[in-house]
């Protein structure tokens, strides 16, 4: 607590790093814990490789059942011996399934899946750190990883075994299994998610009957993420799987897939944590466009619709994605979106955030994009010209100014005549604007002057009649010296104190 100084206590925005330093964080989480109070010991079984072939089946089953015993890893000293036995057994099982043929008989399937389900399907612990920042923070790791890792490994080898029969396995690896597997993608442990990704990928490949279900569930997860919770740790992994699925889409694309692109993938760009999965998301989008170029227009319009307005980091990401899309775009599609796109780009190059401006200007270093611009220079140049010319004079960042020179020079060399025309019309516009400003300034000055001379007029008017009488009295008084004493006293009292120019008044009213 002494780490926070008095000034920081008053300041409402204590640095995140300081706050974290105080929190006593557990770097490990787990929901696995032993419910029984009595310690359970595992008795070591003989090695599989030593057992005669007739007994191997039975031994295999026994070992599987043994591994259904769960251990509490929060307490690092409890049940060390049993934990070690389980670990060694799991290791042995992994080897057994990887190296031997003919071990996967029908009767083993339920045992295997049971062991797997018992070990990995669990409720994930609540997040220790809701403000998790992937660049700064350490992720919360699964405490029972020494065992769970081997279980995942086992599952993977099981799926990849040449004798694996989806027709048998489908009774056990069913929709419920897949649903629970998907829930685990929310794990904070990246190693776990990595395994899950590969496993789900294999399952999708082998179980055709589950494909539609998997796609639908992933849809649900994403939609919930976008519109409800804004929290899910496994978006990047799921997108990676989707990338390989999209890559394999048959042509023509089914309507379901196009819907997915427009209703899920594009809105996914609006998530706050886009940085965590943007690379995978962009890959998916580009894959779609490579499959079906006619989707280019709706995709780009979608991105433009969701263009970030307050987050510059995101803007830089979007620009990167646009460049990736432009790299594969067909010229006929480019023509359809060039105007709205370059309007946005011209706003980006003028952006005061230097990274955004730089990223946008760097498009002109891309040969293919240059060739597209060249073919359509008469539409693109008028859109870009104004911003470029303006920021060449006004931008604060010298690197940007140098880049703008490059861009202007490139554009000029593409079509000098058009460039010159735009330059002169831009200058003419600026002249007109300046003239208008000057006229406006002069008008204000005139109004100011009028006001000053009028105000004197207005004040005098309100006491007009009174003054008039008094002045008349004065005039008449001065001529009648006898009566001066009395009347002057009266008139003196009646004279207004702020009467500065009685002469003016006399001229008007008399």
């Amino acid at each position: 607590m002494s780490a926070i100084s008095a000034s920081e206590k008053v300041d409402g925005f204590t640095r995140k790093s300081v706050r974290k330093a105080q929190k006593q964080r557990k770097s490990q989480g787990s929901s696995q814990y032993r419910t029984q109070s009595a310690p359970v010991e595992l008795s070591p079984l003989p090695q599989l490789k030593d057992a005669p072939s007739t007994e191997q089946q039975e031994l295999f089953t026994q070992k599987l059942q043994q591994c259904c015993m769960l251990f509490d890893f929060f307490d690092s000293v409890m049940d060390l011996k049993s934990k070690e036995i389980k670990r060694a057994t799991l290791n042995e099982l992994v080897d057994y399934v990887s190296t031997n043929r003919g071990v996967l008989v029908e009767s083993t399937y339920p045992e295997i899946t049971n062991m797997i389900c018992t070990n990995i399907f669990r409720t994930l612990p609540p997040s220790e750190n809701p403000d998790f920042d992937p660049e700064e923070d350490e992720p919360t790791l699964e405490a029972s990883w020494p065992h769970i890792q081997l279980v995942y490994e086992f599952l993977l080898r099981f799926l990849e075994n040449p004798d694996f029969q989806p027709s048998i396995a489908k009774r056990y690896i069913d929709q419920k299994f897949v649903l629970q597997l998907l829930e685990l993608f929310d794990s904070e442990d990246p190693r776990e998610r990595d395994f899950l990704k590969t496993i789900l990928h294999r399952i999708y490949g082998k179980f055709l009957g589950l494909r539609a279900f998997i796609r639908k569930q992933i849809n649900n997860i994403f939609l919930k993420f976008i519109y409800e919770t804004d929290h899910f740790n496994g978006v990047a992994e799921l997108l990676e799987i989707l990338g390989s699925i999209i890559n394999g889409f048959a042509l023509p694309l089914k309507a379901e897939h196009k819907q997915f692109l427009m209703k899920v993938l594009i809105p996914l760009h609006t998530a706050k944590g886009l940085a965590l999965f943007h690379a995978q998301l962009a890959y998916c989008v580009v894959q779609f466009l490579e499959k079906d170029p006619t989707l280019t227009e709706p995709v780009i319009r979608g991105l433009l619709k969701f263009w970030p307005k307050t987050c510059s980091q995101k803007e830089v990401m979007y620009l990167g994605e646009i460049e990736e899309i432009l790299d594969v775009i067909e010229p006929t599609q480019f023509i359809k979106i060039q105007e709205p796109l370059f309007k946005q780009i011209s706003r980006c190059v003028a952006n005061p955030h230097f990274q955004v401006a730089e990223r946008a200007l760097y498009f002109w270093n891309n040969e293919y994009i240059l060739s597209l611009i060249e073919e359509n220079i008469d539409r693109v140049l008028p859109i870009m010209f104004g911003s470029l010319y303006r920021i060449s004079k006004e931008h604060w960042n010298p690197t940007i100014v140098a880049l703008v020179y490059n861009v202007l020079k490139t554009l000029m060399e593409m079509n000098c005549t058009l460039f010159d025309e735009l330059t002169s019309s831009y200058k003419a516009d600026r002249q007109r604007e300046k003239k208008k400003e000057q006229e406006r300034d002069e008008l204000w000055k005139k109004l100011d002057e009028l006001r000053l001379s009028d105000s004197a007029l207005v004040q005098n008017n309100s006491h007009g009649l009174q003054n008039n009488n008094n002045n008349n009295n004065n005039n008449s008084n001065s001529s009648n010296n006898d009566d001066t004493e009395d009347k002057s006293a009266d008139s003196a009292a009646a004279l207004p104190t702020d009467d500065k120019e009685p002469d003016v008044l006399v001229n008007i009213f008399v």
């Binding site: 055709l208 539609a212 390989s244 890959y283 830089v316 730089e358 990223r359 690197t399 490059n406 593409m414």
Partner: protein
């Protein structure tokens, strides 16, 4: 200014212009030299002048600055043999000198900025030294008489003679065309008065004004410019302008521009685009029983339709064997 005074000024300039012409032999030498390391060629010079044009445009300098800079450059190159590696220094110093005498002080860009934007390899002190050398060699004291001088005079004369044609003869357009011509070294051999008159005549012909053509002839007679000379240069100018005005774009690749970005952006750009590690899963063709009918409903109805997608696939006993074998081919991963 009345017409008489204008014509008089024209005469004076015409007599003076010869002092500001680059040495013809020098120019011819440049034109004829092949591209090698020791001599500059016409192409080098032309490229430099195009760069000067870009810089003029970028910094908002006037046409006068540009024309003056090119004049200084050509005169210097015609006099002195310089190595190609010094060419950019010479051209930038000419531009800087021209800017200093033509533009307002507040509008003149500093040498450092000029060097930075022009992506040059030399320092500000190099630039300063070169400026001294150029001004010494050319005895640069006053503003030289250039084609622009004549162009402006001709324009004024033409306007003063026909008041109703103010809009059609655009000085700006003439200036732009002059800039285009100056990008080719061959036009530096022309006398500025002749070059300007050629440009004027071409535009007059384009707007099809008979009385302006009369004025142009009047000027020609006044200055005693030979018909042959005028015709020769008019042809060349016409050719150059038709290239300039053609809708075809030239590929901007004769010089590599440096694209310097900040460290952060550079990191961003080099961040590896994720190479997919997972192998592609091909979608099923005919007969892939993913319960296609439920698929179509999935997105639109949003309702659970689990029952229809349960347990149907080609591996079951419901499908004939040969279909199963056909489908097994592509779909199962090794």
């Amino acid at each position: 200014m009345d017409a008489y005074k204008l014509m008089k000024e024209l005469r004076v300039n015409y007599e003076q212009e010869v002092f500001y012409l680059p040495k013809e032999t020098g120019l011819v030498l440049i034109e004829s030299s092949t591209r090698d390391e020791s001599r500059i060629s016409a192409k080098c010079r032309d490229v430099q002048v195009e760069d000067l044009w870009s810089l003029t445009s970028f910094f908002g300098y006037s046409t006068q600055t540009f024309v003056l800079a090119v004049n200084l450059l050509d005169r210097f190159l015609a006099l002195m043999r310089i190595q190609p590696k010094h060419l950019s220094c010479v051209s930038l110093s000419c531009l800087h000198m021209a800017a200093k005498v033509t533009e307002e002080e507040c509008d003149v860009t500093s040498s450092d900025e000029l060097i930075r934007i022009g992506q040059a390899r030399f320092t500000a002190s190099d630039l300063c030294r070169m400026e001294k050398i150029v001004s010494e060699k050319l005895d640069f004291k006053s503003k030289p008489i250039t084609a622009l001088t004549f162009l402006q005079l001709y324009h004024q004369i033409a306007l003063s003679h026909s008041m109703d044609r103010k809009e059609t003869l655009s000085l700006e357009k003439l200036e732009a065309q002059l800039k285009a011509c100056l990008c080719r070294i061959s036009f530096s051999k022309a006398k500025p008065s002749v070059l300007a008159l050629s440009l004027l005549r071409l535009q007059i012909i384009a707007v099809q004004s008979e009385d302006m053509l009369e004025i142009a002839s009047h000027i020609q007679r006044h200055l005693k410019i030979a018909d042959g000379e005028l015709r020769l240069w008019s042809e060349r100018v016409a050719q150059c302008l038709s290239d300039y005005a053609s809708p075809e774009c030239s590929k901007p690749n004769h010089r590599k521009l440096q694209w310097i970005v900040s460290r952060r952006t550079a990191q961003n750009l080099h961040a590896s685009r994720s190479v997919p590690e997972l192998p592609t899963i091909p979608e099923g063709g005919w007969g892939e029983s993913e319960s296609e009918d439920s698929c179509e409903d999935v997105m639109s109805s949003g309702e659970e339709s689990l029952s229809s997608s349960l347990g149907s696939d080609a591996e079951g006993p419901y499908f004939p064997l040969h279909y199963r074998q056909q489908r097994d081919r592509g779909h199962l991963l090794a």
